[in-house]
């Protein structure tokens, strides 16, 4: 009866497939998506894999259907995911807002592409953060390899369940359509987080009560709790009559549950940073040529280093500040017109100049291109 849930072992796998296997390993049992290149392989593999593990696959009539089916399934108790690409994500914004307000765990994969074309870009990095109307924080992970597409998809599910929030895996054409070595560990070695469930019977349960910056427990639909899951501002009991205090407190908590747990969420990797004078900051696939360039610079006697942002949102403010402390210059490397650089400039402040190293031509930087900027900055 087909393959199992966790394909433990060594693989040479397409990035989009690694996302699917990561989702399955994390316990995903509902997927909905609408065709869009370059994310199609995710849906296609889900269509064959979901029935194998007793999960459900839906090809929605559009992205709106997909994202809302995911929120509905999640409330019914599923670990649910959707995947799309840039313009497809536009349609999903509405559902992201609902998932934020109603605090619904779910995973959204965005395989970024150039608007209207399938060439590589990181141009969605701001949109993913500021996706929904109204107030929200957003957790966005930026894998740089096929292995991390697997790992981060697992992590995304765990963060979604932990914080009752939508979590976005920011993929890119580069890694999504690349085949690389992938090691899938034994199921027992994959950490799994499940949403907190009510500890009291329905009569005693107050559905949206949580400690400061806390995450309320979530029962499944149809378990007798009778909860109103509304986009509208709601009080602890779910009542949606307008009350300015309720509104203010609700979003303090919904934002606070992410910001107060920054340290638990934010992840970075440091390469040669200890004595680095030229500090590169990069995320996603751009960190690959950035690291090559740093190593080439080191061979030429330049004290360069790389801070790789594994999580792009929330911003790794402490790590960026620390890396910039002794730097002569910070190089913000990205595959777009220069977007995240604004965040880096904000955090670095007047510590040192921030040089924007951008490429907006549908292809990844070469190490040579980045090396040239390093050499200039070191002069």
């Amino acid at each position: 009866m087909g393959r199992g849930r966790v394909l433990t072992g060594k693989h040479f796998m397409l990035g989009n497939y690694a996302v699917v296997e990561g989702a399955l390993a994390a316990g995903c049992d509902f997927f909905a998506g609408y065709p869009i290149t370059p994310a199609n392989e995710i849906s296609e593999r889900m269509a064959s894999r979901m029935p194998e593990v007793g999960g459900k696959f839906l090809q929605g009539e559009d992205e709106l259907c997909s994202v809302y089916a995911v929120t509905g399934a999640s409330l019914a108790g599923a670990k649910a995911m959707t995947a799309t690409a840039s313009e497809g994500f536009n349609y999903m914004l509405e559902g992201v807002g609902y998932a934020v307000a109603a605090e619904i765990p779910c995973v959204i994969v965005d395989v970024q592409r150039c608007r209207g074309e399938n060439y590589a870009t990181q141009a969605d990095v701001m949109q993913l953060r500021w996706a929904a109307s109204g107030d929200h924080e957003m957790i966005v992970l930026a894998p740089w390899s096929v292995q991390e597409l697997f790992d981060h998809t697992v992590k995304a599910f765990n963060l979604a369940e932990r914080f009752r929030a939508p979590v976005i895996v920011m993929s890119e054409t580069t890694i999504a359509l690349m085949r690389e070595n992938l090691t899938i560990p034994d199921a027992s070695e994959i950490p799994i987080v499940n949403r907190r469930r009510p500890a009291v019977p329905p009569a005693e349960f107050i559905p949206f009560r949580a400690e400061k910056n806390g995450v309320p427990p979530l029962p499944n639909l149809g378990e007798g709790y009778g909860i109103l899951h509304s986009l509208n501002p709601h009080d602890e009991r779910g009542g949606i009559a307008w009350d300015a205090d309720v509104f203010e407190r609700m979003y303090e908590r919904i934002l606070g549950k992410i910001t107060a747990h920054r340290r638990e969420i934010v992840e970075t990797e440091a390469y040669y940073l200890a004595d680095a004078q030229i500090v590169l900051i990069a995320y996603g696939s751009e960190a690959r040529p950035a690291l090559d360039a740093v190593e080439a610079a080191r061979e030429n006697g330049i004290a360069a280093g790389l801070l790789r942002l594994v999580t792009v949102w929330p911003v790794a403010e402490d790590e960026i500040r620390h890396a910039a402390q002794q730097a002569r210059a910070v190089l913000a490397v990205e595959m777009n017109v220069g977007k995240y650089a604004g965040e880096i400039e904000r955090v670095v402040g007047r510590r040192c100049p921030v040089v924007r190293v951008t490429k907006n031509r549908g292809e990844i930087h070469t190490a040579q291109e980045i090396l040239r900027v390093i050499e200039e900055a070191a002069r």
């Binding site: 929605g60 809302y68 999640s74 409330l75 639909l221 007798g224 986009l231």
Partner: protein, 271 residues
């Protein structure tokens, strides 16, 4: 004070409701409670879904789990809920805007798939909550806030649309005909597959005052009933006459397999 025993199925503390005096949506809430009681619906296993608008508030009052507050996406929600847990009873309360405009494609697809949910549409012929704008269901010529010179667009026949798309249970009644309406909801709740029950309903505050020249609910209901014909009577009318009427009846009641996902293994087959 003796309360109506059906209030046991209303969410605690949710009354008084927010509907305007004489609102048709509130009447349909009443009809639903009666029908649910008649079929012995288990409210603990019920998921009520409402989008945005006056009708979308109906499930907010039910003592059941509820998804609410996003315009037009009731059926996508329902699809996710129902696929993951087919044992749940899902009932959608939708205004004509939710059903015929912003959520129109979802309606077509859910009917085509024969998603096993009940959709109750309160068609009050306009956008009530936003102040009375024209809807795809507004009769031609009607004055609304966005058709000050009269509506020039032909109106949608939601029941015909649902039936054509593949819905397996389709009825339309009006708020005047409570018995038939309640019976239609009962049938929908018992039905396995996609069921749609439309109510032509009064909106005294907006449609009544602007299009009908009166905010009197009773007068509005009478106007609807006077413009209603049964499917049998409709057969005798000319196309022109029919264009100005609401055709009432139980139109479809058939059976076919319900939706279980876009990719399923053949039953008993090898993968």
């Amino acid at each position: 004070m003796t309360l109506n025993p059906l209030t046991r199925n209303l969410r605690e503390g949710s009354l008084p409701h927010f509907f305007c005096p004489g609102c048709g949506a509130a009447q349909v809430l009443n009809y639903f409670l009666r029908a649910a009681d008649a079929v012995g619906l288990d409210f603990g296993r019920l998921v009520g879904i409402g989008g945005v608008g006056c009708t979308a508030r109906i499930p907010v009052y039910l003592k059941a789990d509820c998804l609410h507050g996003v315009h037009g996406r009731t059926l996508p929600w329902a699809t996710g809920v129902k696929l993951h847990n087919p044992a749940l009873k899902v009932v959608i309360f939708s205004g004509d805007g939710d059903a015929a405009a912003i959520g129109g494609n979802h309606l077509i697809q859910a009917a085509r798939r024969n998603l096993d949910v009940t959709m109750i549409v309160v068609n009050n012929l306009n956008y009530g909550m936003t102040g009375g704008q024209v809807a795809p269901t507004t009769p031609e010529g009607a004055n609304t806030m966005t058709t000050p010179y009269g509506n020039v667009e032909p109106r949608f026949d939601l029941c015909a649309l649902a039936a054509t798309a593949g819905a397996t249970y389709v009825s339309r009644w009006n708020t005047f005909r409570s018995r038939q309406g309640i019976r239609a909801i009962e049938g929908a709740l018992r039905h396995r597959g996609f069921s749609l029950v439309e109510f032509v309903a009064q909106c005294p505050t907006n449609y009544g005052r602007r299009a009908l020249g009166s905010g009197d609910a009773a007068k509005n209901i009478r106007w609807i009933e006077e413009h209603s014909v049964t499917a049998e009577q409709a057969k005798l009318l000319s196309a022109d006459d029919l264009g100005t009427r609401f055709v009432l009846g139980d139109f479809v009641n058939t059976s076919r397999p319900v939706f279980a996902g876009s990719s399923t293994m053949p039953q008993g087959g090898e993968s």
